[in-house]
């Protein structure tokens, strides 16, 4: 991968990587440190990137995962939300728990993107499990409206996941 491509990758993905790091570490300064280290490692290892093995985005997330894992080892504050491995590798090997953590982050990010009206309905009915009739009464709308908003909310979430690179 040429150096310019790493810089382009930074422009394209640093925002979501920073969000992922914030969510994992719970601290903005430490998240900045992790993302900066992630891109330095990507820069140094850019010749080893193989697009046939995985996408640039997945590769960056995997590097970030290892950076966060390393920070967790050297800092007694183990990051939450991401299962750590003990391999100590500085470069990624994508594995199931990490993919799950990354996917969970994408779902969270997709829910942030779909707009308040749909998010509210998806959260109340699908995540909190409140009955449609109860939510409808609280919002002063017919129950059928809640059903259709669940439909449009899930569709919006599906589109947002696609924008984030998720392939079903």
């Amino acid at each position: 991968m040429p150096g310019e491509q790493v810089r382009e990758a930074y422009r394209a993905h640093s925002g979501e990587l920073f969000g992922f790091a914030c969510r994992s570490l719970g601290d903005r300064d430490r998240a900045e440190e992790a993302v900066q280290e992630c891109f330095l490692k990507a820069w140094r290892a850019r010749d080893k990137f193989d697009p046939e093995i995985g996408s640039e985005r997945t590769w960056l997330y995997a590097i970030l995962r290892n950076v966060i894992a390393d920070m967790g080892r050297t800092d007694s504050r183990r990051p939450s939300g991401i299962p750590l491995d003990d391999s100590g590798d500085s470069l990624p090997s994508v594995e199931q728990p990490f993919e799950r953590a990354m996917l969970a982050w994408q779902v969270e990010e997709a829910l942030r993107r779909i707009g308040e009206r749909h998010r509210q309905i998806v959260v109340e009915t699908c995540l909190r499990g409140r009955p449609y009739a109860e939510v409808a009464a609280a919002l002063g709308v017919p129950e059928g409206t809640i059903k259709s908003r669940v439909y449009y909310g899930l569709r919006a979430m599906r589109d947002a996941m696609e924008e984030l690179g998720y392939e079903s």
Binding site: F18, G19, R28, R100, Y151, D159, M161
Partner: protein, 226 residues
């Protein structure tokens, strides 16, 4: 789309989540047996709905809250490292200064602090900018706004009148005349709400560096100067 078909379709989300009564579920099951379009939509929504299980229950209350932005000089620090990793700028330390600054350094530091205090910091950050695309097909409109952020520029795009589901790729053009990707979105329109949904994107380029905005929608390309 017949009224029955539409009613069934708008129940597909609740069907996918297992929220329908047995009678309603049976009606949907009967319909999707003979309607491949709704079958595919139902399966797709079921898969999307299953992803919600990944959400940590402790985070549900914070889903409406924005995540913090990195500090204003973050991009600069990272990009400096990508030019020459050994020369990267150290991150700001929370520790008190331990080394006495040389006189010139101290003067420079005071000058920078004064500039920041007198208006060189957040307060003087450039204002956002609105845009409207011209020369669009009949019935189509695209407008929106660019807002400066600590990490670059936030882009909100409002599209109207396109075929719902059209994949739109957004690029910014800078002084180098090169197209820099700023994200993609699908044009979403709610027939129920008679409403289009804005797309929220971002780019690491500063607003002052963006010369034009380009949207490739399907096989068409639109551009507006900023």
């Amino acid at each position: 789309m017949s009224p029955d078909h539409r009613e069934i379709r708008e129940n597909l989300g609740a069907w996918a989540m297992g929220h329908l009564s047995p009678e309603e579920r049976e009606a949907v099951d009967r319909h999707i047996e003979t309607c491949p379009e709704c079958r595919a939509e139902a399966d797709s929504l079921k898969q999307t709905g299953s992803l919600l299980e990944l959400i940590d229950p402790a985070l549900i209350g914070s889903l409406s809250e924005p995540l913090p932005n990195p500090s204003p000089d973050f991009d600069e620090r990272v990009m400096a490292g990508l030019r020459d990793p050994e020369a990267r700028k150290p991150r700001r330390s929370r520790r008190p200064w331990r080394i006495a600054l040389p006189a010139t350094g101290a003067i420079a530091l005071v000058t920078v602090a004064l500039v920041l205090l007198l208006g060189g910091g957040q307060g003087s950050r450039e204002a956002g900018q609105e845009f409207t695309f011209a020369a669009l097909p009949p019935g189509v409109s695209i407008d929106g706004s660019l807002e400066p952020r600590a990490t670059g520029t936030g882009i909100e795009v409002n599209v109207n009148g396109m075929r719902p589901g059209t994949l739109c790729r957004v690029y910014v053009k800078t002084a180098s005349d090169k197209l820099e990707p700023a994200g993609t979105f699908r044009y979403r329109y709610s027939a129920e709400e008679h409403e289009s949904y804005p797309a929220t994107l971002s780019t690491a380029w500063d607003l002052s560096e963006i010369h034009s905005l380009v949207i490739k929608a399907g096989d068409q390309t639109f551009r507006t100067d900023i």
